[in-house]
């Protein structure tokens, strides 16, 4: 342990802590910085995190200094403020100050630092600035603006250290130094949009989000990426009922600070044209009142003969659906096991977010042939939810033969086509729930946008089926469902699912 004084207060940190982290903890906010990133190696190129250390002849950068016993550090002295201001002026010498057309405006490191430390008039005429390439498309997802770059090298380090692909580099020297892709190379990897996230300025921007919205207009909700079994923590940025982008939230236990480009595009499915927006019976749109009548007619006071739960359902939905029928009549299918391979960074070969949830509730997963046989032998209403088992040809054949198929679905697809009654359920960003990722970690997500059309929350549909089938009332709130779920799967009061820990919860201990 090292005892040191930061801004006249004593603190104790374990040996090996960087002074940057120590100052962040001591001050309650990070030092001004561009190049430091908790999940990247230290570069020390932006020179902004300068602090005054007693006994050192000059100011020193905190990110590249370790804590030492007896250190006396000042982070807010006049000398420090003046140094930061001068360095910031250097960073801005050739900056085009085109904030009005820059997508980063509103979440830009330069803007933030300038408001905190700058506030000076520029000494450089606009005409005297060194011009570089603007609007350079460097890959399928990313656009580069070399003028805006402050050469912090975060993106370069990301491509070297995290993906190991090394597409980006800083070329030339002095005020002609510029970020670029290596000659003949594109920034084309599945993690390229992370460079946009970590870019502290608007040098790298996303082609998908380009000019779509000014960032200060967006509202955010906490989510879990539904793209694969990894369950990266995301921030769902939305406005006016539309999701505009997903950004990774840092969770060192799951995804670090990153997420893959595939996962980022999963939001598009929420606003897909194939969304099921009305209850449908035999190709005709119904109102919910008519649909409830049809549902009652099909169930006739009985439980469904077979419930097929897919790994896209939330844990709460799985729990409700499991208890709709006899345990032997609740199964899952071979959903999404053939959708591609994973990599050893984040992407998992299993492209469904909640397969571990099925296992934690003891729901059997059947192969295609077995599931088709079970559907064929059901002899009563079959309820399908949480995925589209009809993507598999064998299962699709059996579903087509089933006369009493009820599907709760988000999108049109083979199962909805085969269904006698299709009910529109909320997609992932339109409901709150929990996914269990490949580590067995329970991770909660919140509702971001309003449900479109006649779409209903899936737990409400399941509660209605429960009421119809068991001639009683179903659960009244998601909170009640969650309390039951915790009591049944964990132990009572073990976890408050409405206040899930930020890093998720792994039942039975392990690495939290």
């Amino acid at each position: 342990m090292a005892k040191l004084t930061i801004d006249d207060q004593e603190f104790e940190f374990p040996d090996g802590t960087s002074l940057f982290d120590a100052c962040r903890e001591a001050r309650g906010e990070a030092l001004p910085h561009f190049c430091y990133h908790p999940d990247l190696p230290v570069a020390g190129v932006c020179r902004l995190c300068q602090v005054e250390v007693e006994g050192m002849p000059k100011l020193t950068i905190a990110c590249n200094t370790g804590v030492r016993d007896g250190m006396v550090v000042r982070t807010r002295s006049e000398k420090v403020t003046q140094a930061v201001q001068q360095i910031l002026e250097m960073h801005l010498i050739n900056h085009p100050v085109d904030c009005p057309i820059c997508d980063q405006a509103g979440e830009c490191g330069l803007q933030d630092q300038y408001m905190d430390f700058g506030l000076y008039e520029s000494k450089v005429e606009m005409a005297a600035k060194v011009n570089k390439r603007k609007v350079k498309v460097i890959g399928p997802q990313v656009i580069l603006d070399q003028e805006r770059c402050v050469l912090c090298s975060r993106c370069v380090r990301f491509c070297q250290e995290v993906t190991g692909t090394g597409e980006l580099g800083i070329f030339n020297r002095g005020d002609r130094a510029e970020l670029d892709v290596a000659p003949g190379v594109e920034l084309d990897n599945n993690y390229s949009l992370n460079t946009v996230d970590i870019c502290p300025v608007g040098a790298l921007t996303s082609r998908d989000f380009r000019f779509a919205k000014r960032v200060w207009m967006l509202k955010s909700a906490r989510g879990v990426c539904p793209g694969c079994a990894t369950g990266c923590n995301v921030r769902i940025d939305h406005e006016g009922g539309r999701v505009f982008r997903l950004k990774p939230l840092r969770n060192p236990q799951v995804n670090g600070s990153w997420m893959c480009d595939r996962g980022r595009m999963t939001y598009k499915a929420v606003h897909d044209e194939r969304r099921l927006l009305q209850p449908v019976r035999d190709g005709k749109d119904l109102t919910w009142a008519e649909a409830s009548g049809a549902l009652a007619g099909m169930l006739q006071g009985r439980s469904p003969a077979l419930v097929v739960i897919g790994p896209h359902a939330s844990l709460e939905e799985m729990y409700l659906a499991r208890d709709l029928a006899d345990p032997a009549a609740v199964v899952s299918g071979p959903h999404d096991l053939d959708r591609g391979s994973g990599d050893d960074i984040l992407l998992d070969g299993d492209r469904s977010p909640n397969r571990k949830g099925l296992a934690s509730l003891g729901i059997t997963e059947l192969g295609a042939a077995d599931l088709a046989a079970r559907v064929g032998a059901a002899g009563g209403p079959v309820l399908v939810l949480g995925g589209d088992p009809g993507r598999d040809k064998t299962v699709a054949g059996a579903l087509a033969q089933c006369a009493n198929l009820i599907a709760i679905a988000t999108h049109d697809g083979p199962t909805v086509q085969a269904a006698a009654l299709a009910l529109p359920g909320a997609a992932w960003a339109e409901k709150a729930g929990t996914f269990v990722n490949r580590q067995g970690r329970w991770q909660g997500f919140a509702q971001a946008v309003a449900r479109p059309g006649a779409v209903r929350d899936v737990w409400r549909i399941l509660a209605e089926i429960q009421a119809l089938a068991h001639d009683g009332s179903g659960p009244q709130s998601l909170r009640a469902v969650r309390q039951d779920l915790v009591t049944s799967v964990l132990s009572e009061g073990e976890l408050d699912m409405d206040r899930m820990p930020e890093q998720g919860y792994v039942p039975g201990g392990g690495e939290q």
Partner: protein
């Protein structure tokens, strides 16, 4: 302020016999009216009434009238769709959709720029927020009339070629 001593309720004032007759009082009131009428006929220049629309009030040069969008030298809109105006707008009446401009030195331009004139409160915050001097309220137009609500939703083309007669 003290309410002490003030009468409570609406008890009627005692009227004199003359007041109870009504007619003398009515004639007295008509007398006041006729006196003003004759005064106005004889001194028309003192009359406060304005002969609008033949005669119009002169407003200050800084009067905020209907908006217009400024053009570049080549006639394209000066606006870069930064949406500072719609952010600043307290009435939320400006709707802009940005798009990619083929010229990388311009980069961003408004594909649509709609203002709902019925919502606008003519506060001028949009003008003030604009970093490119692209939106101005210096047309002096305040006579804004139409027979349909939808006519008050004006688009980019209209704002770029703002007419001065107030028709929509």
């Amino acid at each position: 302020m003290s309410f002490e001593g003030l009468p409570i309720g609406t008890a009627a004032k005692k009227r004199s016999f003359r007041e109870k007759l009504y007619f003398p009082e009515i004639l007295r009131g008509l007398g006041v009216t006729i006196r003003h009428l004759l005064h106005n006929i004889l001194h028309t220049a003192d009359m406060p009434t304005m002969q609008y629309p033949e005669e119009k009030r002169v407003y200050s040069d800084r009067f905020r009238g209907r908006h217009r969008l400024m053009k570049r030298e080549d006639g394209s809109p000066r606006c870069v769709a930064c949406q500072m105006c719609s952010t600043a707008c307290p009435a939320d009446c400006i709707d802009i959709v940005a798009a990619e401009h083929p010229d990388p030195s311009i980069e961003k331009y408004p594909a649509t720029f709609d203002i709902d004139l019925l919502r606008c409160v003519y506060c001028g915050l949009c003008e003030e927020a604009c970093p490119c001097d692209a939106i101005r309220m210096d047309t002096g137009i305040y006579e804004i009339a139409a027979d349909k609500r939808s006519s008050f939703l004006v688009d980019k083309e209209f704002l770029l070629n703002n007419t001065t007669d107030g028709t929509l």
